[in-house]
């Protein structure tokens, strides 16, 4: 069952969830919220134009902007600036959909499967949020790619994939097979960690060999959920700083994404996802299938009604929650910001106090812990002095922001926050540089045009002056002619 040998991962940490934690694997479904909020922002945070008007009634699955579909049928009631689950705490233009409760779906009847996936607006549910159709199209260009179904949980405390596999193992395997046929590959490598025993048993019960899926169990090392470390463990290839998985012919898709692809091929648009809600001390966790656009506070009240532990945690700290996992999540005020494809988990309850950092003693513990072979203390020094060139030399782009270096740092330095700051500073500098080169090109041809125009004007003036000079002589002749005429004709 496990014939592919696992390559060692240099670095990473063996994190452990508290042993007496009980993960409630039953898949609850959140009630359809009366108002759904749809932020019109794509993966790279550029604002999109809506292609629906106010008051227009839409069906579930109908496109409201490029790559964004309505999660339920209803009427578009407002187009306002509204908060969204992002560390920037900024407001983005958002469509407000008043759901009419009938949940009528628009039929997806495109012939070509890729167009179906695109119509169903399937996004990566693993936490990164790539558009899946683009990923698959790029992989197909590569000829026969290796398909990896990533069922490894991103971080401890998140159990949405685990619950999905325990509840719907057969659906998951069928989804894998339909994806295998779509990509034209022979088999899929189903990566799962060996501490997910219940899910493994559920999958084994449905004989995965029939679906050409070979299950690869990996010993638990965080962050195998991230694409680069997982590919290194399964194939031994360490992605270079400018390579993505598709460049080495690997399609790495989260197990929930594979299921939503399968639904899209059957004609059901991707309108919901499983959100794992966990208490901050990781002792209690429940999984709820939620429609996109559901406000977080509505989801929280529903979760509190199901699980008393979540309710008590909510009372202790009802103002802020952590969106995302315990390591890469960010603090957010509990408000009506909607659930999106990238919100895979919510942490409830009082956060741990952040220790004050002290000076870095260059002990290189973080170098040992880094799963993608970087030197975090050199990146840290470059980030602190905002020296983007040195950060590039130490391969800042390869950092997957997993947080391992934070955990082992003896000086409690928030290394990952520094790397996020450095990545954003670098992205902003690149934008400035492209704008500068464009401005330079425009100014070069501006100057060239102005000089050419000035030249032409000068030549035109010279020509006119020459004519004027000729006319002057002709003026003398005219005057002479007038004089002749005058003295020939006596005054009458």
């Amino acid at each position: 069952m496990n014939h592919t040998d696992i390559h060692p991962l240099s670095g990473g940490l063996a994190l452990s969830v508290p042993t007496n934690a009980h993960i409630d694997a039953t898949l609850h479904t959140a009630p359809l919220a009366p108002q759904l909020y749809l932020p019109l922002v794509d993966y790279s945070r550029t604002v999109l134009q809506p292609n629906v008007t106010l008051g227009q009634s839409v069906l579930a699955g109908q496109s409201v902007a490029r790559g964004i579909i309505a999660p339920s049928s209803g009427t578009i009631t407002a187009y306002i600036e509204h908060s969204w689950p992002h560390p920037s705490n900024t407001q983005v233009p958002t469509l407000v959909l008043q759901s009419d409760g009938q949940d009528r779906f628009i039929p997806i009847d495109h012939v070509h499967p890729l167009e179906r996936i695109e119509a169903a607006a399937v996004h990566g549910l693993g936490g990164a949020g790539f558009s899946t159709a683009a990923k698959i199209r790029k992989a197909c260009e590569f000829g026969r790619p290796t398909l990896v179904v990533n069922a490894v949980e991103c971080e401890p405390g998140i159990a949405c994939d685990d619950a999905l596999m325990q509840q719907q193992p057969r659906a998951v395997l069928e989804a894998c097979r339909s994806l295998i046929e779509l990509l034209g590959v022979y088999s899929a490598q189903f990566a799962i960690e060996d501490d997910k025993q219940l899910a493994l048993n559920a999958l084994q019960a449905c004989e995965p060999e029939q679906y050409a899926v070979d299950i690869v169990t990996l010993p638990v090392i965080y962050p195998s959920g991230a694409e680069a470390p997982l590919i290194q463990r399964l194939t031994g290839i360490a992605l270079e700083y400018d390579q993505r998985a598709a460049d080495v012919g690997v399609v790495c898709l989260n197990v929930a994404t594979v299921l939503s692809i399968h639904n899209a091929l059957q004609g059901r648009p991707a309108v919901d996802r499983i959100v794992s809600i966990t208490t901050q001390d990781l002792h209690h966790s429940i999984n709820i299938r939620t429609r996109f656009g559901t406000p977080v506070n509505a989801l929280m009240t529903f979760a509190a009604s199901i699980n008393p532990a979540i309710a008590t945690a909510l009372q202790q700290n009802s103002s802020t929650i952590t969106v995302g996992g315990p390591l890469s999540g960010f603090q957010k005020t509990l408000d009506t910001s909607p659930i999106l494809a990238t919100t895979n988990a919510l942490l409830v309850g009082p956060a741990d106090p952040v220790p004050t950092p002290s000076a870095c003693i260059r002990c290189a513990e973080c170098t040992v812990a880094c799963p993608v072979n970087l030197l975090p203390q050199e990146l840290y020094t470059a980030a602190v002095t905002e020296d983007i060139d040195t950060a590039n030399r130490y391969l800042l782009d390869v950092c997957v922001l997993c947080g391992c270096c934070d955990l082992v740092c003896p000086a409690d330095i928030p290394l990952t926050s520094w790397f996020r700051f450095a990545k954003d500073a670098k992205r902003q500098r690149q934008q400035e540089q492209t704008a500068a080169t464009l401005a330079r090109a425009r100014s070069d041809n501006h100057n060239e045009r102005e000089t050419r125009r000035a030249q032409e004007k000068a030549e035109a003036d010279a020509a006119r002056r020459a004519q004027a000079a000729q006319r002057k002589e002709s003026a003398a002749d005219i005057k002479a002619a007038i004089a002749r005429a005058k003295n020939r004709r006596p005054r009458s």
């Binding site: 020094t381 470059a382 602190v384 002095t385 020296d387």
Partner: protein, 191 residues
């Protein structure tokens, strides 16, 4: 064989021109803020020194001593060094204009670099052959370049440290150079 090695080790470590004999300090302080410029100046100085050492040896052996005009020694050596430096500057302007711009004043300054003149004078005083004069010049230059590049790497790291305001820049560089020469005293009395 091992006396060539001995000359090299003594020129690079034991009586290093910069940190033990304190010669050639102004380019050492001036150009050592970036490794690439330090390496550039180091290579240029090595080329100049080796050529200057051998040419001055020839000048001394076949012109000054026969004509017994040893007192013209300083003028002659400076003339040779100036010629070689001007030649290096031309080559560098052609090969890498950026490095030439970065070195800027410090390239012609090699002419007045006391280490270069010291090497020329020292090699001609001791009784050695042409090759040993060139080898001593080369050793001195390698010592100069080694220490210059090491110091440039340290200063680049110093740029990123939180040095108190009054000590930033040249002050902390001088303190570091002092500690470095303290370390080099360990080699005292080796050969």
């Amino acid at each position: 064989m091992n006396d060539w090695l001995l000359i090299l080790v003594s020129a690079v470590f034991v009586n290093n021109f910069v940190l033990v004999q304190f010669l050639g300090l102004c380019p050492f302080m001036g150009v050592s803020n970036r490794i690439s410029s330090a390496l550039g100046l180091g290579v240029a100085t090595t080329f100049v020194l080796t050529l200057a050492a051998s040419l001055s040896y020839l000048l001394n052996q076949y012109v000054l001593q026969p004509l017994s005009v040893e007192y013209l020694r300083i003028v002659g050596f400076i003339f040779i060094i100036a010629v070689v430096v001007q030649f290096t500057e031309l080559m560098m302007r052609r090969r890498s204009p950026l490095l030439h711009q970065v070195l800027g004043l410090y390239l012609p300054l090699i002419t007045t670099n006391c280490a270069v003149l010291a090497v020329a004078l020292l090699t001609t005083q001791q009784d050695n052959t042409l090759f040993s004069a060139m080898w001593q010049g080369f050793g001195a230059a390698v010592g100069f370049t080694l220490v210059l590049v090491l110091f440039a790497a340290m200063r680049e790291r110093l740029d990123r440290t939180d040095v108190p305001k009054p000590f930033q820049g040249a002050a902390i560089a001088f303190i570091t150079a002092g500690t470095l020469s303290l370390a080099f005293m360990g080699f005292a009395g080796m050969t």
